[in-house]
């Protein structure tokens, strides 16, 4: 049976800069100029203090493995088992992603708070997804 396609994102005006940055292999997120906090997902105001004084910044793509599941029954586009993770970027914001490059993932291979690094996955000419690997 043919696998269905992986669900892909469609940018909105508020998130276009993020997705365009990934196509250039840059991780660009927003930081509040008033409370100084980085946040995710993109929106034109800070969800921590509601200030509209926010700026885009290119960040390091380094972070830690904050939490995760190992999906053994999941989306039909994915080969199981696969890892759905929350990565906490070194700049502070948290985002969902996958941990790639771990064969037959188990809890023992994925210690909590392990350092991770972004990998840019060029799915097609329009979409690049942020994936992470263990460092």
């Amino acid at each position: 049976m043919q696998k269905p396609p992986r669900p892909l994102p469609q940018a909105t005006p508020e998130t276009k800069e993020y997705w365009d940055g990934l196509k250039r292999h840059e991780l660009r997120i927003q930081r509040c100029s008033d409370c100084s906090q980085f946040y995710f997902f993109p929106r034109p105001f800070c969800p921590n203090c509601q200030s509209q004084n926010v700026q885009w910044q290119t960040v390091s793509g380094k972070g830690t493995l904050h939490s995760y599941v190992i999906a053994h029954r999941g989306h039909p586009a994915f080969d199981t088992p696969y890892v759905i993770a929350i990565v906490q970027l070194d700049e502070g914001a948290k985002m969902m992603t996958n941990i790639v490059g771990v064969d037959d993932p188990t809890a023992a291979k994925l210690p909590a708070d392990a350092p991770v690094q972004i990998v840019f996955d060029d799915v097609n000419e329009n979409v690049t997804l942020p994936q992470f690997k263990l460092v």
Binding site: R6, P7, L8, P9, Q10, A11, T12, T15, W19, F40, F41, H66, S67, Y68, V69, I70, A71, H72, R73, G74, H75, A77, F78, P81, Y82, I84, A85, I86, K94, M95, M96, T97, N98, T106, A107, A112, D113, L129
Partner: protein, 383 residues
């Protein structure tokens, strides 16, 4: 400013019923599940459908059309499984304000058989479509479960402790003839069941069923004139915090419960955790009641794992919880909160049969909507 304590003990549930059966019901559409439970609850209250002048459910236009009623007050709050707890709180305010006298709250969901049900999920430009779906989330087992590892890391919570929640809950289901899963299970059985999304095994996950439930609420003044013993609303709290699990504020803490719904419900009731005789903590997965127990202050942060492992919540324990068998073993239509209220009412009325807990005066009902996204708490009493 007005104070919610003015509404303590001012309204009561006087009708409560589920569909004739729950489980696998391919001969009922979603709307018929609403209707069957609605007629049962109205009959339980000794009323006729024409007596209803207020309606709350997740789709009030559809349900009023289907039932053929024209309520003068409606609430369509639809934030997932805790919506019905929120409807109860809203109905209390509406009755006190004179917006309605006799409120019907309904739930019906063909979660298993999918009869007369629309589509699910949003498009690729929604927040979830952009920032969660591309990573292979596939419904609640791979979404609601995402925070658990952070709880394990923070507090040392174990897979065995998660399994204990399922074991204690199944022990109650053994006593409930309407429950779908009635064979006793052990911690080893849970750990040996197939992996769904580590750390969750199959027996850490709720059922997927069809069914419905409904309630009738009136003012405290009228409540004693109905056939059944009234169940009074003492306190309520409600909150929304996020939609996607990746935006959960603190993955080790159910913030909506800890900061908003618990404090508000207890303050309104004038009671605290030690005053609660019985609990219905929505168990979508084994960890959901663990997060509830900590957030509502029944135990300290990180203490829920050992607490469940000691079987305090099982039959014979000192804090009976999820006494119908819960979403894990009784039934789970998708938005289970209505069934949690139904069991609290049954226990407070003394109608719970073999699983009846003696001497109950209070019950706390607590539920999430979505993935810890919305939260609601009710404190109910029979005095």
């Amino acid at each position: 400013m007005a104070d919610s304590t003015a509404l303590r003990h001012k309204t009561a549930i006087v009708g409560a019923a589920e569909t004739n059966t729950v489980g696998i019901l391919p001969d009922h559409s979603m709307l018929q599940l609403h209707a069957e439970s609605a007629f049962n609850a109205v009959a339980d209250a000794g009323l006729k459908m024409s007596d209803i002048d207020g309606l709350a459910c997740v789709a009030p236009a559809q349900v009023s059309e289907y039932l053929g009623i024209m309520p003068r007050w409606v609430d369509g709050t639809a934030v997932g499984g805790c919506s019905f707890l929120i409807h109860v709180g809203h109905a209390a305010a509406a009755i006190a304000a004179g917006y309605a006298d006799t409120v019907l709250i309904t739930h019906g969901e063909s979660g298993r058989s999918r009869v007369g049900v629309g589509g699910f999920g949003g498009g690729p430009s929604t927040i979830g479509g952009q920032f969660e779906a591309p990573y292979g989330v596939a419904g609640p087992p791979t979404m609601f479960s995402v925070p658990i590892v952070h709880h394990m890391k923070t507090f040392g919570t174990t897979e065995e402790q998660l399994a204990a929640v399922s074991v204690a809950t199944r022990a109650w289901a053994v006593k409930n003839p309407r429950a779908m899963m009635r064979d006793p299970i052990t911690v080893d059985d849970v750990l040996a069941s197939r992996l769904i999304a580590w750390p969750l095994h199959l027996l850490n996950c709720c059922l997927v069923t069809d069914g419905g439930g409904a309630l009738v609420m009136v003012s405290e003044e009228r409540a004693r004139d109905f056939p059944k013993k009234p169940v009074y609303l003492l306190g309520r709290g409600e909150n929304t915090a996020h939609q996607g699990i990746s935006s959960m504020r603190d993955m080790a803490v159910w913030s909506g419960a800890a900061e908003i719904t618990g404090p508000e419900a207890f303050r309104m009731a004038g009671l605290g955790p030690k005053d609660m005789d019985h609990a219905m903590f929505y168990d979508a997965f084994s960890h959901t009641p663990m997060y509830a127990l900590e957030a509502l202050g029944f135990v300290g942060p990180g203490e829920s794992g050992p607490y469940f492992a000691e079987m305090h919540t099982a039959p014979g324990g000192d804090f009976p919880m999820n006494t119908n068998g819960g979403g894990l073993s009784y039934t789970h239509t998708g938005m289970y909160g209505m069934f949690a209220i139904q069991e609290a009412v049954a226990q407070l009325r003394g109608e719970a049969g073999e699983r009846q807990v003696d001497g109950l005066e209070t019950s706390i009902v607590h539920a999430p909507g979505g993935m810890f996204s919305a939260t609601a708490t009710l404190i109910l009493a029979n005095q």
